[in-house]
């Protein structure tokens, strides 16, 4: 990165789940106030805010948040970048601090999705008396089901199946076992939306959504928010010892979009941009995948987790099945992945996800993860991907 390191000094996430009594501003406020408290700061210290919210992208949630917790006139950037929205909000805060525009930045991600149902499915078009071509392909009706699928569980199922076609070794059972791991992990995370352990049989015999993804193998729509306070080196030095000793270094912060690859406009290529982001992040941090003590990656579906073992280079190219079968990504394995329970159990309030995964790493590096603590964790990686596509990778290190 540049001359000055960037540090996380305040971090918080709400419990993910159903919050019927509270709106997005309530949830964003809860996480933001708690993150400020964690950093021993108030809104008067903050120089810039990046705020992510996907479902109300035009509503100025950042300004609404300020009206609830402190209107100081600072610049607010409301961002939206699919499931990478939270990571994008954090990138905005980090870029502003790195650019020297301010010493202290705040990032917030918030979403209310409980009961939103299946995302990516367009409703039926109004019936016309005659065939009317419309859209970029001149389609005379909804392409869903007619030309394959665009629904998220189906798209990500195909992404996992494609990996199986390329390298072999995948099966319905293998993908279900990945889900079994994450649900087992979730039992130790009190902030997860679902903390239920499932047997492999229960997962495989649950409702099939898009083969091979059954319902527990899909991320849960839920409500939640996460917030983070970042500062540069010089600011950190001026802060109390109690804040400094819990500071976590951002050794790499990368956001990529999907470069051209043959077929990427037919089935989204979530691999190349993730591999690119990981490569850049390892280079920025001067850290390799072998140095990571834990990883939070974007398991929006069980089929997605498999391909990202490979994309993040946690295994050799083509070796994701062997990597999983070795037991490495279980919390007592050599490379714990998604000890939070992942999106399949922790839940996936879209814009909060890209900050909440970083919060999980921060919590372990601070040694504050309670029952699910990865003992002695010093380095962690958080990955998020938004279809379309955008990929965020952050590498964090415990303060020396």
């Amino acid at each position: 990165m540049g001359s000055e390191d960037i540090w996380i000094i305040g971090s918080n996430m709400t419990k993910f789940g159903k919050h019927p009594e509270r709106d997005v501003v309530d949830l964003a406020s809860e996480a933001s106030v708690a993150a400020l408290h964690d950093a021993e700061m108030t809104m008067s210290d903050i120089g810039v805010i990046g705020v992510g919210n996907l479902m109300n992208a035009g509503a100025g949630i950042g300004q609404q948040l300020q009206k609830q917790i402190g209107q100081t006139g600072i610049p607010v950037f409301n961002v939206s970048n699919a499931c990478a929205t939270g990571a994008t909000a954090l990138r905005v805060a980090i870029m502003a601090v790195k650019a020297g525009e301010t010493d202290v930045g705040m990032a917030v991600g918030v979403e209310k999705l409980a009961g939103a149902g299946l995302l990516g499915q367009k409703g039926p078009k109004p019936k016309s008396e005659t065939w009317e071509p419309s859209g970029r392909f001149g389609a005379i009706g909804s392409t869903e089901g007619r030309i394959g699928t665009n629904i998220m569980p189906g798209v990500f199922a195909q992404i996992g199946m494609e990996y199986g076609h390329k390298y072999g070794g995948t099966s319905f059972e293998l993908f279900a076992k990945i889900s079994e791991k994450n649900h087992a992990h979730s039992t130790l995370n009190p902030l997860a939306a679902y903390q239920k352990r499932f047997t492999l049989d229960e997962i495989m015999n649950d409702v099939m959504i898009a083969y091979p993804n059954t319902r527990p193998m899909c991320s849960g729509n839920c409500d939640g928010a996460a917030a983070m306070i970042v500062v540069n080196d010089s600011k950190l030095k001026s802060l109390p010892a109690s804040v400094r000793k819990r500071a976590v270094k951002i050794s790499a912060s990368v956001l990529t979009s999907d470069p051209w690859a043959e077929g990427c406009q037919v089935l989204p290529d979530v691999n190349t941009l993730t591999r690119n982001a990981a490569t850049q992040a390892y280079e920025q941090a001067g850290i390799g995948p072998e140095d990571l003590d834990l990883v939070e990656l974007h398991d929006c579906f069980a089929t997605a987790e498999l391909v990202h073992y490979d994309n993040l280079m946690l295994c050799e190219q083509g070796g994701a099945v062997d990597f999983f079968e070795s037991g490495a990504p279980w919390r007592d394995g050599s490379k714990p992945v998604n000890v939070s329970g992942g999106l399949q159990s922790k839940g996936h309030p879209i814009a909060a996800t890209g900050i909440a995964n970083i919060h999980e790493i921060v919590t372990h590096l601070r040694g504050e993860a309670g029952d699910r603590q990865i003992v002695g964790a010093k380095v962690g990686l958080a990955h998020v991907i938004g279809l379309g596509s955008a990929c965020g990778v952050h590498i964090l290190e415990k303060a020396a």
């Binding site: 065939w131 089901g145 629904i151 569980p153 199922a157 199946m161 898009a210 083969y211 043959e262």
Partner: protein, 135 residues
Amino acid sequence: MAESDVTGSMEQVPFVDYLVLGEEPYLRANECQNCQARFFDRRNACASCFGNEFTNVKVATIGEITSFTIVEMGPMPYVSAIVDCDGTPVRCTLTGVEASPEAVQLGMKVELTTYSMGEDSGGTEAIAFGFAPTK
């Protein structure tokens, strides 16, 4: 009867504009003249090399399944597949095969098929495409 002559030359529209109807229907791609990247939508420039000259090309009508899923949400399960048509990936719904993991295999050979979606109030018939196991 005069009516049957009319029916015989009934007007048809393709479900999407890249499906070309006729004796031997095929999918049409816009191919970049510079780098040969292929696209199914209208283009302003090439996403790969930024070139702006394209040629209409015929995509191979036989291919191999490189990925699939069976979508079980909704009234009828269906198989969505990615088919590698001689180097050009195509997304489609499989036809002529049961929507079950036992009936579909990765690497399976499939070919382009077309079917009628029915007529609109003006008597125009819509034709959609799918891919079905090769015979």
